[in-house]
Point group: C2
Chain length 502, copies 2
Amino acid sequence: MMNGKLKESHTLLEWPEVITYMESAEVAFEHYRRYPASRRIDFLRQIAREIATIRLNLVEIAHQETHLPEGRLHGEIDRTINQINLFAEVLEEGSWVNAIIDTANPQRIPAPKPDIRQMQLPLGPVCVYGASNFPFAFSVAGGDTISALAAGCPVLYKVHEGHPQTSQLVSGCIERAASQTDMPQGVFASLMVAREIGLQVVTHPSIAAVAFTGSFSGGKALYDAAARRPVPIPVYAEMGSINPVFLLPDQLKHHAEATAIALAASNTLGAGQFCTNPGLMVMLQSPETEHFLSTYGSQLAEQTCHDMLTPGIYTAYSAGVERLKSINGIQVLGEGKTEGLPSDAAVPVAFRVRGADFLRNDALREEYFGPASIHVIAEDTAQLLEIAKVLDGQLTSSVWCTDVDIDSFGLLFQALEGKAGRLIINGAPTGVEVGHAMVHGGPFPATTDARSTSVGTQAIYRFTRPVSYQNYPDRLLPVELRDGNRLGIWRKLDGELTKQSL
Amino acid sequence: MMNGKLKESHTLLEWPEVITYMESAEVAFEHYRRYPASRRIDFLRQIAREIATIRLNLVEIAHQETHLPEGRLHGEIDRTINQINLFAEVLEEGSWVNAIIDTANPQRIPAPKPDIRQMQLPLGPVCVYGASNFPFAFSVAGGDTISALAAGCPVLYKVHEGHPQTSQLVSGCIERAASQTDMPQGVFASLMVAREIGLQVVTHPSIAAVAFTGSFSGGKALYDAAARRPVPIPVYAEMGSINPVFLLPDQLKHHAEATAIALAASNTLGAGQFCTNPGLMVMLQSPETEHFLSTYGSQLAEQTCHDMLTPGIYTAYSAGVERLKSINGIQVLGEGKTEGLPSDAAVPVAFRVRGADFLRNDALREEYFGPASIHVIAEDTAQLLEIAKVLDGQLTSSVWCTDVDIDSFGLLFQALEGKAGRLIINGAPTGVEVGHAMVHGGPFPATTDARSTSVGTQAIYRFTRPVSYQNYPDRLLPVELRDGNRLGIWRKLDGELTKQSL
């Protein structure tokens, strides 16, 4: 069950030790949740500084553990630091608590109207399961950990076996930051545990929410384990996606080559190891489509990929490609170079299949994590729409199109709206912007909870719940809800957004 | 399994018919979700008008079916109509969609920043299970149905067997409103089904969310059934609560009588059949506490209650009271009149028990739906805090206190913050205000999802998910996200709330 990297070089925690950490997180929560925002901001910013301080060491170790190129790892550290600082800004601005105030009306007939004030409060200790493919941005100090800490929740981080040393280094950053900013003991712990114990964690009463990024089998196992708890908790499992891309005829008529080049680059980026990797492309049969396909195939022939993240991922990818090759009606459209590659390097491969064959075969709608793509040639628009409609939930769906296409394919845009968390026009799905408007989520099986995003500032709400205070004296209210609005935040006051005090 | 009212006078739908309704709702969703807000507003307001039109008939039938007093039923119809119109106002104002716009920056280094815009979209057909105790406000056209319709979701309403005729009348109101405002067929259906089929509905792929108000066993059964679906969906089960009330010493020193009178009235209101009924009161031993208790007991002696909602509820209440009476260490503090009562009338009863006995006995922390209350006398402040900490999740928790008490009981307020959806000072928990700031929800077992409220305008978010549009041409965006902001709604534009256009 365990990757050699973890088993050989690190002592795994046993269940009783893990319980101690979880109980410690629960105790920490009672303190941490009541800290003023300023203290959480200091903590977050110190984490960012600690990471920046050991950046070179982090890149070196992460490169050894994941085979990801150093340039990419530097970029990912930038992203991670920016993400931390963005959450600090959100706390500093303060309006994220969604303060809502309905003032009293003692004269109301038939019954007096009470003063009621609402805001978001943190849920409790969160268990975060990091991803293999982002050793920084979706791991120890990644989006889930940082949004949970920002919300006021302690974090227990389950170390991914693909990069244990990197995880240990980043954990050290968080621990030093916690100590330097006087955070309560237990506010953060990283757990190196066997997979079965990692699964057991979600069943413990101290855990108030779960966030996971990884495979369908891993995420669904956590979801199912949590569903059997006596006390249900939110489980946010982001489990990947085939990220369908629709290529419309006028687009291919005018931009077949550029489109093929952009999508081949997106599909093979980072050895295809992105949950937003475009794994399915759908188009209508036409000479322009053939032009796109031949360009795409020849693009692949130029490509080599680096080693995949873990031997397990490489094995699964290779087996998946072999399985695809054995499917009736599927043809190889193009493949990357195979000579002189390192041992676990992914070979990019693209397949073509007719729309009718695609619709017949569920295996073609599964994710093959790596630089593989399936190109579906629909007979006509009706079949293309049918393909859109049978798709499962996705993180992203994209359409490459011109204005002419937009006028002709209204039903396609409508159908895709129900399928994905992020809808893209003329852009690669890889590259998940960290901002306010991002949704990195989507309907099952992309995630277990489509109401949430794991990237961007809205992710803070995965770890909160609303609470109302009725008829509270001002001094007993949280500062965000007091009459004076000392923090100057936006509040909904009797239905109107305002920064005014009462 | 079925109450006589339903079995005798109505034909129950069989599963194949129910499937037809669900599939019809799914088809309706594809149209309804894309209607402009103005059309949903017309629909909602017409529902309110239809209800007002047959108000007298509704009150008459509901009184026969539920035994609730006519005055109360008129009040509940007012509340239901106000609630519908409030959601119409929310749609009219328009900012509820939570529009977030991050503008592009093509010059950004190292990668251009795309234009990304986010808003909330409806989930799909919602199955609503109404409550026995609110034949209007938490039933056919109650909060869950109306917030789902407002969000853009069709509704399948499972008729409660306690008031089938009332349900049929209100369903008629919604159906007429749908027809008059040209809503798609399938936007609403009420289902008279046996309980087992009601449970099966949540497993059907057409259903995108479930909302329930009722007992723990009923709500948990729905939750468990939904958790076994291949595709998980949100389940909002509001399952009641014992609504603890803490009575602090300085309050009882100065206001023992008034407090007892207010709480006895709250506990016996509507025969105690509110999910916010104060079923547990906790206080420190003292002469003032004895004064409170004797007043409370003598208040009860003056009380009679009307018939309970259903024979089943009456039987469960009576059995619960008998079980409580048999518990070691519990004493009857007072009881209501028993002579000359109608057959299914609840007899109010209050018990007293020492803190240590309360802590020993889990049965004292269960809900006894009806006008029963358990008064716990804590030995000291430490024990009172211990009692607060062992409580399960609640819809509400209340503290009756003076300024002096507030200074001395800081830890109590902290402990209760983690326990309930609504925290009340010096007020009865009964009476759930329909507004913007209300949270009618709370940690399990009060509900299955503490992130949500079933009352108030924030309830609309139970039935939505965020979606991002990346690099979309203006005309392809939903109107709420277009540059011009024609609707004049609040949007978060590059991190700042504004009504400005781009």
